[in-house]
Amino acid sequence: MSGLVAVVLAVAILMVAILRERNRLVASRARVRAAWAQVDAQLARRHALVPRLVAGVVAEREHERQVLAGVHRALAATGRDGSTAGPTAAVTVGPVETGLTAALLALEQAHPRLRSADTTLRLQEDLLSTENRVAAARQHYNDTALLHTTAVQTVPTNLVARLFGIGPAPYLDLRLLSD
C-alpha cells in the first residue's frame, strides 16, 4: 500500500517537474518570437524613417543654400560699402533683398534654434540611434535564442523539449538577413 503511494507520489512529482520545464520552454520560445518581432519592427522603422529623415534634411539644406546663394548674389550686386552700382542696379537688387529677408525670417521662424550644423548633428543622432536600435533588437534576439537553444539542447530539458516538439531557435546572421 505504502509502496503504491510512493510510486504515485513519485510519478506526480515527475509530472509536475516535466510540466514546469515545458512551461519554461514555451515561455522562452515565446520570448524568442517576441524578440524576432522586435527585429522586424525595428527594420521596418528604419526602412520608413531613414529616407524621410534624409529627405527632410536635404530639403532644409537646399532651402538654406538657396537663401544663402541669394544673399551672396545680393551682396555681389552691392558694393563693398553697401553702395549700389547705380540706380538700375538698386532697382534690381531691392526686390531680391526684400524676398531674401522674408525667406531668412521664414527659416528663422520655422526652426528658431536650428542651424544646419544642429540639423546635421540631429540627423547623425537619428541615424546612429536607428542603427543602434536595429543592432540592439538583433542582439536581444540572439541572446534570447542562445538561452533558448541552450535549454533545448542540454540535459534534462532536452528530453522535455523533444517530448513536446520544441526546437532550437536559429541565430540571426547576415545570411538570414539577406533573405
Binding site: R31, Q42, R113, E125, S129, A136, A137
Partner: protein, 476 residues
C-alpha cells in the same frame, strides 16, 4: 605575450556565466534575509501582542453580543502559552498584510525625494535630451523590455530608477549628466539601470523599503496612540494605500518612518510617559540588534549582489565593459550627486557621497553599493581593459572619494596573492566569521527577548486597565 598575460583579468568569464553566478548568490542571500526578516517580524509581533490582545478581546466581545465567540480572558487563564502563540501569530499576519499593502502602495519610494524640485519630462527638441531618449530606447530594446519613462531633474551626476516593475519603471536622470557625459558613457549608465529594471530589482527595492516601514508602523501606534503625529501618519498611510499620495510626500513619509525613531525617543525622554519611552527603547534596541545587525547586512549584501548582476547585464546590453567602467569612475569622481535626501541611495547607479558626508560607524560597510573598486574588478573579468593611464586615474578618484575601500582592489591580484588570500579565507576568516555570527545571533536573541518582556508587561498594564472593565461590561 607575458605582458598581456600579466594584465589579463583574474577570471575571464562570459556575462551570462557572471549573471548566473550573481543570481544564484543573490538567491541564497535572499533566503537568509527572508528568514531573518521573519524572525524580526515575530519579535515585532511579540512586542505588539498586548495591542493585538486588546483588539481581539474587544472585537470578540462585541461579536459575542450577536454570536457566541470564545472568551480570550478566560483563555489567558487556561492556556497562556497557547494564547501568546495565537497573539504573536495574529500580529505576524497583520504585519504581513501591512507589508504586502505597502509594497503595492509604494510607487516612487525613497527615489521620490529626488523629484521634489524641478522634475520634468525630456524636451525632444533639445539635442542632448533627444539623445537621452534614444539611448534609453536602445537599452530597453536590448533588454527586451518597454522603454522606461524618463524624468529629468536639474543637476547631479547619477541615475536612479523607480517604479513597481519592468512594465512600470521610471528613470530619474539629471540634466547635468547628459550635458557632461558623452553618448557612449551615458548609454552605459542608462544600460545599468535598464538592466536592473529588467532583472526585476524594482520588486526587490519595494520589498526592502516596505519592510522596515511595516515594522515601524505598529511601534508608532503603540508608543503614541493618541498623538496628532500618529494620526497624521495613519492618514498618510491611508492615502498611500489608496494611491493618492504625491511622490514627494511619499518619500517624506518613508524617510520619517525609517529615520525618526531616535529623535522621537529623545523628545519622549524629555517629557513623555514611561511606557512610550520603554517602547521606544525596546524598539530602538530591536532596530540596532535585529534590523541593523542581522537583517540589514543580509539585505545590503543582497542589494549589492543585484548591483553586480545589473553590471553584468549592462555589459550584455551594451557589449561595452570599458564604457561602463569609465562611466562609473566619472560618476564617482563627481560624487554621484543626486538631488533629494540621502535615502535615494538605494535607487542609484553609484553611491551618492556628498562632500560633507561621513561614513557611519560601520565605515561604509552599510552602504547599498559595493565599493567601486570591486565593481571595476568584476568588470575586468567581463572584458574591461583599462590602460595604465585609466587605471591610475581610477585609483586617484577612488582614493579621493572612497578612501575606506582599499586601493589595492583596483589592481588585479597575482596568482600567489589569490592563493594566499584563499587559504587565509578558508583557515582564518570563515571560522572566525562563523563563530562571530553565532555569538552575535545568540546575544541578539537573548537581549531582544530580555528587553522585550518588560515592555510587553508594562504595556499590558494600561491595556488591561482599559480592556478588562470593557470586557466585563460586554460579557455581563
Amino acid at each position: 605575450v607575458v605582458e598581456r598575460l600579466r594584465s589579463a583579468p583574474p577570471d575571464p568569464e562570459s556575462f551570462f556565466a557572471a549573471q548566473r553566478r550573481h543570481r544564484r548568490a543573490a538567491g541564497r542571500i535572499a533566503v537568509l534575509a527572508a528568514v531573518a526578516a521573519i524572525g524580526q517580524s515575530l519579535l515585532v509581533a511579540t512586542m505588539t501582542a498586548p495591542l493585538t490582545f486588546a483588539v481581539l478581546t474587544v472585537g470578540l466581545d462585541l461579536a459575542n453580543l450577536a454570536v457566541p465567540t470564545p472568551d480570550l480572558v478566560q483563555a489567558w487563564d487556561r492556556h497562556p502559552a497557547r494564547l501568546l502563540g495565537l497573539l504573536v501569530g495574529a500580529g505576524a499576519v497583520t504585519l504581513l498584510v501591512i507589508w504586502v499593502r505597502l509594497r503595492a502602495g509604494l510607487r516612487v519610494g525613497l527615489a521620490g525625494a529626488a523629484l521634489v524640485g524641478g522634475a520634468r519630462p525630456p524636451d525632444e527638441s533639445r539635442l542632448d535630451e533627444h539623445r537621452l531618449v534614444d539611448v534609453v530606447a536602445e537599452a530597453a530594446l536590448a533588454a527586451g523590455i518597454a522603454a522606461p519613462r524618463i524624468v529629468l531633474v536639474p543637476d547631479g551626476m547619477n541615475v536612479a530608477a523607480f517604479g513597481t516593475g519592468p512594465d512600470d519603471a521610471t528613470l530619474i536622470v539629471p540634466a547635468g549628466l547628459i550635458a557632461r557625459l558623452e553618448r557612449r558613457r551615458t548609454a552605459a549608465v542608462v544600460a545599468h539601470q535598464v538592466a536592473s529594471v529588467a532583472n526585476g530589482d524594482l520588486v526587490v527595492q519595494h520589498a526592502v523599503q516596505a519592510l522596515p516601514v511595516a515594522w515601524a508602523v505598529p511601534a508608532r501606534l503603540m508608543a503614541h496612540p493618541f498623538s496628532r503625529a500618529t494620526w497624521r501618519l495613519a492618514g498618510a498611510l491611508l492615502l498611500l494605500l489608496l494611491g493618492r499620495l504625491d511622490p514627494a510626500r511619499e518619500a517624506a513619509l518613508l524617510d520619517d518612518l525609517l529615520t525618526r525613531d531616535e529623535r522621537e525617543l529623545d523628545q519622549q525622554a524629555d517629557g513623555g510617559g514611561l511606557v512610550p519611552v520603554m517602547i521606544y527603547a525596546a524598539w530602538s534596541g530591536m532596530r540596532v540588534l535585529g534590523d541593523l545587525l542581522v537583517v540589514g547586512p543580509l539585505v545590503t549584501v543582497w542589494v549589492r549582489r543585484r548591483r553586480y548582476l545589473a553590471d553584468a547585464t549592462a555589459v550584455q546590453l551594451t557589449r561595452d565593459p570599458d564604457g561602463l567602467a569609465a562611466a562609473l569612475v566619472r560618476l564617482v569622481a563627481e560624487r554621484g550627486a543626486m538631488p533629494g535626501t540621502g535615502s535615494v541611495d538605494l535607487a542609484c547607479v553609484v553611491r551618492p557621497r556628498p562632500e560633507d558626508a561621513k561614513d557611519g560607524p560601520m565605515g561604509g560597510l552599510e552602504a547599498w553599493h559595493p565599493p567601486t573598486a570591486r565593481r571595476l574588478r568584476r568588470l575586468e573579468a567581463l572584458g574591461y581593459r583599462p590602460s595604465d593611464h585609466e587605471r591610475a586615474e581610477a585609483r586617484a578618484v577612488l582614493e579621493r572619494v572612497e578612501p575606506s575601500a582599499r586601493a589595492r582592489d583596483v589592481r588585479p591580484p597575482t596568482l600567489l596573492r589569490r592563493a594566499v588570500g584563499a587559504v587565509v579565507m578558508v583557515v582564518v576568516v570563515v571560522p572566525l566569521l562563523a563563530v562571530a555570527a553565532v555569538l552575535v545571533a545568540a546575544a541578539a536573541v537573548v537581549m531582544l527577548w530580555l528587553s522585550l518582556m518588560p515592555v510587553v508587561l508594562f504595556y499590558l498594564v494600561p491595556v488591561l486597565a482599559v480592556v478588562l472593565p470593557l470586557h466585563h461590561l460586554l460579557r455581563g
